[in-house]
């Protein structure tokens, strides 16, 4: 019945393997299945899930955290074996009992388990069979539903009369109750009316007295005070002392003047973005953190000491238990971890991690730690906390290489443009961050074509035109061997976005432009027709990178957005491996202080890295995500 059963260590060494795959090259298939499982479940913090389905197989697993083992079972999906859980439990116990010595010595071989495995499997199978048999004895006719249904048909006339009388009685009582209710309502209504009248009178009196009062002289002064311009701190992406004013383009200026103005555009950050993006600067508070942790641990130690002392007072017998508590090893159980996990879940939710994701993460940590034996001086709380923060770092670390410039170079060699498509809901900053990424690319001497595929929102194309003008002013063609660095491909409004993108890509190929940035219209994830249009754009043009733009302010909504965007892309694709979201642009990161949870939510759902982080309004406010800094802010 089972296709695969295997026991392997977390280090990746297979201790026991039962392989029943019918395939010719079943060893490689075994390896692919298990490797895929490890990479998608165990290393992506999805251990809250009990099972995984993969190519018609259903995988179920159990972790032994004491000896760092993984037990895994795979069987055909349609079989629906109910005994697998029990089987895994039994086999874990048996395996541990039999090879206790070898496991403690971390031996790699000598696990002759075939006989026991077959025995346990048969035993569990038979027991479940028996249980299902014994729990469902045949029903007699009297017990069945049918017998009950037919009963009223053979009712005697007497019984029918009795029933009718009962009905009448019920109706009467109902009527009486209703009458009583009406009376009560009337009584209640009368004083209410009185109150209304009184209140009106009061109000009127108040109005009169107010009119008599002279107008306070302070009021007009207040209204004259206009809103003051807010000066943003540099740390939050504000202007570097000199550049603040230049951002205001809202004033009416004639066309030619604006052009001249674009040339005078603040050049202070030209040349600051070459090379790789800088890391995100988060106030370094690791020292404080350590202090805090140390303090907490110290306090906890004191508390423990106190508790111990009280124990001693109670009876001298518990002396041994103190020693065992101090020296002996503690095994983690779900019950002991629960309060700590609860606390961490609250902490994560307070930092804007989506609720069900923080729950899943805690569950995953619990599964990972359940049964683990703590060393003598390892604290429970600190162990859970470090496990969780390690898990979070793992989530934020990319699962593949992200080096866009390198890939652009590769595309250049293949004489084709590198295409990036941006999607997201309305108003998250798609166009703004597209312009920033464009700036970063041209700083690194890459020519860019912007495809204006937002053919829907008024002013979208003009916005991109303005950006193009500014970017070209910052990097004039004279500096780049007479080549224009940024171009805009526009076809006006109301056209098919996928078509425009395709034309733009063709144009880029002919004009030898290195990168095409496709700006799409913002759309809500529930808007079915628009989502289909987006999927079409991606299917038709096959961009190298599909970036989801999401704002860092978003909380629980992040889950819904990403799930539905991915779903739409998957549903509307005709290929076997649909092109889903490849990466995330996290915008408005300067506005959220320490509530960095959206980063976690987004990369957890997609399993994709956060490629760019937008941290402000100017072209240079684009960063890489520094996973460690984000996590240290989160766990504070």
């Amino acid at each position: 019945m089972l296709d695969i059963f295997s026991i392997f260590t977390k280090g990746g060494i297979v201790l026991f393997c039962f392989n029943n795959l019918s395939n010719a090259n079943h060893t490689t298939q075994f390896a692919t299945i298990v490797n895929n499982f490890v990479k998608t479940v165990l290393l992506q913090e999805r251990t809250d899930k009990q099972a995984l389905e993969h190519q018609g197989l259903r995988l179920q697993y159990k972790l032994d955290n004491e000896f760092e083992l993984v037990f895994i079972v795979a069987y055909q999906k349609f079989l629906q074996l109910s005994y697998v859980d029990k089987f895994l439990d039994d086999i874990q116990l048996e395996f541990r009992d039999k090879f206790l010595n070898q496991l403690q010595n971390r031996a790699l071989s000598g696990f002759d388990f075939q006989k026991e495995f077959q025995f346990i499997l048969k035993d569990v199978e038979e027991r479940t069979k028996e249980e299902t048999k014994s729990s469902r004895p045949m029903k007699s006719y009297k017990e069945s539903e049918k017998a009950k249904q037919k009963a009223p048909l053979v009712m005697t006339v007497k019984a029918a009369k009795e029933l009718e009388q009962q009905k009448k009685l019920e109706e009467e009582t109902a009527r009486k109750i209703e009458e009583q209710k009406k009376e009560l309502q009337q009584q209640a209504a009368e004083p209410e009316e009185d109150m209304v009248v009184k209140n009106r009178k009061k109000l009127f009196a108040g109005k009169v007295s107010k009119e008599k009062q002279p107008k306070s002289p302070k009021q007009p002064e207040k209204s004259k005070k206009s809103k003051e311009k807010r000066v943003w701190d540099v740390a939050y992406g504000g202007a570097n002392a000199n550049g603040g004013g230049e951002l205001d383009y809202s004033k009416d200026i004639p066309e030619d003047l604006e052009d001249r103005r674009a040339e005078n555009y603040d050049r202070s950050y030209v040349g600051t973005m070459s090379g790789n993006l800088k890391g995100l600067e988060v106030a370094d508070s690791s020292d404080d953190d350590e202090d805090n942790i140390a303090d907490e641990e110290f306090e906890e130690a004191i508390r423990e000491r106190r508790a111990e002392r009280e124990n001693v007072k109670q009876s001298s017998k518990s002396l041994f238990s103190i020693f065992s508590g101090l020296v002996g090893s503690k095994t983690l159980t779900r019950a002991t971890m629960q309060p700590h996990l609860e606390k961490l879940k609250e902490l994560m939710m307070s930092k804007n991690v989506a609720a069900d994701i923080s729950e899943k993460l805690c569950e995953s940590v619990a599964v990972k730690l359940d049964g683990k034996v703590l060393g003598t001086f390892e604290g429970l709380a600190s162990t859970i906390k470090t496990t969780l923060s390690d898990a979070l770092v793992q989530i934020l670390s990319p699962k593949r290489r992200i080096d866009i410039l390198r890939d652009v170079f590769e595309a250049k060699r293949a004489a084709r443009p590198y295409v990036m498509a941006f999607c997201g809901v309305n108003g998250v900053g798609k166009s703004t961050n597209l312009a920033k990424i464009c700036f970063w690319l041209i700083e690194n001497n890459v020519r860019v074509l912007i495809a204006a595929c937002d053919t829907f929102r008024a002013g979208a194309v003009e916005q991109l035109r303005t950006h193009t003008k500014h970017l070209n002013a910052l990097h004039p063609p004279e500096k780049h061997d007479g080549r224009q660095m940024v171009q805009l491909y526009e076809k006006g409004y109301g056209k098919d976005a996928a078509g425009i993108a395709m034309e733009a890509i063709h144009y880029a190929q002919e004009a030898r432009i290195d990168v095409v940035l496709v700006d799409t219209a913002g759309r809500m994830q529930d808007n079915e027709p628009l989502m289909r249009a987006l999927a079409k754009l991606i299917v038709v043009n096959e961009p190298d990178l599909v970036l989801f733009v999401g704002e860092a302010l978003v909380g629980n909504e992040a889950v819904d957005q990403l799930v539905k965007f991915n779903q739409a892309l998957a549903d509307n694709s005709t290929t076997e491996n649909p092109h889903l979201i490849d990466g995330i642009v996290l915008t408005k990161f300067d506005t959220i202080d320490d509530k960095v949870g959206a980063a976690i939510s987004m990369s957890y759902i997609t399993g994709q890295p956060i490629v760019f982080v937008g941290t402000g309004q100017t072209y240079s406010d684009l960063r890489n995500l520094d996973a460690k800094a984000v996590i240290s802010t989160l766990m504070k």
């Binding site: 297979v14 490890v38 070459s274 800088k278 001298s316 990319p398 290489r401």
Partner: protein, 239 residues
């Protein structure tokens, strides 16, 4: 009665606690001080590090799957030196976390390469190697580096010479895309974003440019074949 018990018990508790503390400190001093005997096995996922490790340390060749955690074991070389061999998982999400744990004071690194699938994975392999070469912490301890071109038992495996050329070419491109301008780690506020320039400016990258102190040799071998690890063993013996 109770007060008396308390008086007798408390000193015992304190004594035991103090005793344990000293033991732990001693242990840390002894074992923690022995850093600098670690040999790290690293490389991309699926290049055969775990098999290499079990062959070297336990002389066994088990079936292996993707590692989630590091494997550690000691190996005594021909000069009777005990070395701590650490097999670092190759999956992108875990490798840097584990590598950072062991990078202080490691003696040598064996970078295992799958010589069969290198053409496909060259960009990933080169980037990982680049990060190791450019890592501040690792550069400080100046570990010896061997690049072990694994899987020579399979037909079509690339020779060490070919691997070297491929890697040099790739790193030349990589250092342009990574570091067209030098950014100090202090002003980026990000310790993992190392951008120290590798090689000589204005000249294609060559491993020999890295300086003689940090010798890098390319060897071929196979973790499956009998004696396939001899080149690596010779390297470890030289430590």
């Amino acid at each position: 009665m109770e007060g008396l018990e308390m008086e007798t018990v408390l000193p015992i508790v304190i004594a035991v606690v103090l005793g344990l503390l000293t033991l732990i400190i001693l242990k840390k001093l002894i074992f923690g001080g022995s850093k600098g005997n670690q040999v790290l096995l690293t490389g991309l996922s699926g290049s055969g590090k775990t098999l290499f490790w079990s062959k070297l340390v336990h002389d066994e060749s088990p079936v292996t799957v993707t590692s989630q955690k590091e494997n550690r074991g000691s190996y005594t070389n021909s000069r009777n030196k005990v070395l701590d061999i650490v097999d670092i998982p190759g999956f992108d999400k875990v490798r840097y976390t584990v590598l950072n744990k062991y990078r202080t004071g490691c003696k040598a690194i064996i970078f295992v390469i799958d010589a069969v699938s290198l053409q496909k994975d060259i960009r990933d392999a080169a980037e990982y190697l680049y990060n190791i070469l450019a890592d501040d912490e690792l550069q400080r301890s100046r570990p010896k580096l061997q690049i072990f071109c694994n899987k020579q038992d399979i037909g079509g495996a690339k020779s060490p010479r070919a691997v070297q050329t491929l890697l040099e070419k790739e790193i030349t491109i990589l250092r342009e895309t990574r570091a067209s301008r030098l950014i100090g780690t202090s002003d980026s506020g990000d310790s993992s974003n190392n951008n120290s320039f590798l090689g000589i400016v204005g000249k294609d990258f060559e491993f020999s440019d890295l300086g003689k102190k940090q010798g890098i040799d390319f060897v071929e071998g196979s973790a499956v074949d009998e004696g396939g690890l001899n080149s690596a063993k010779a390297f470890i013996d030289s430590l």
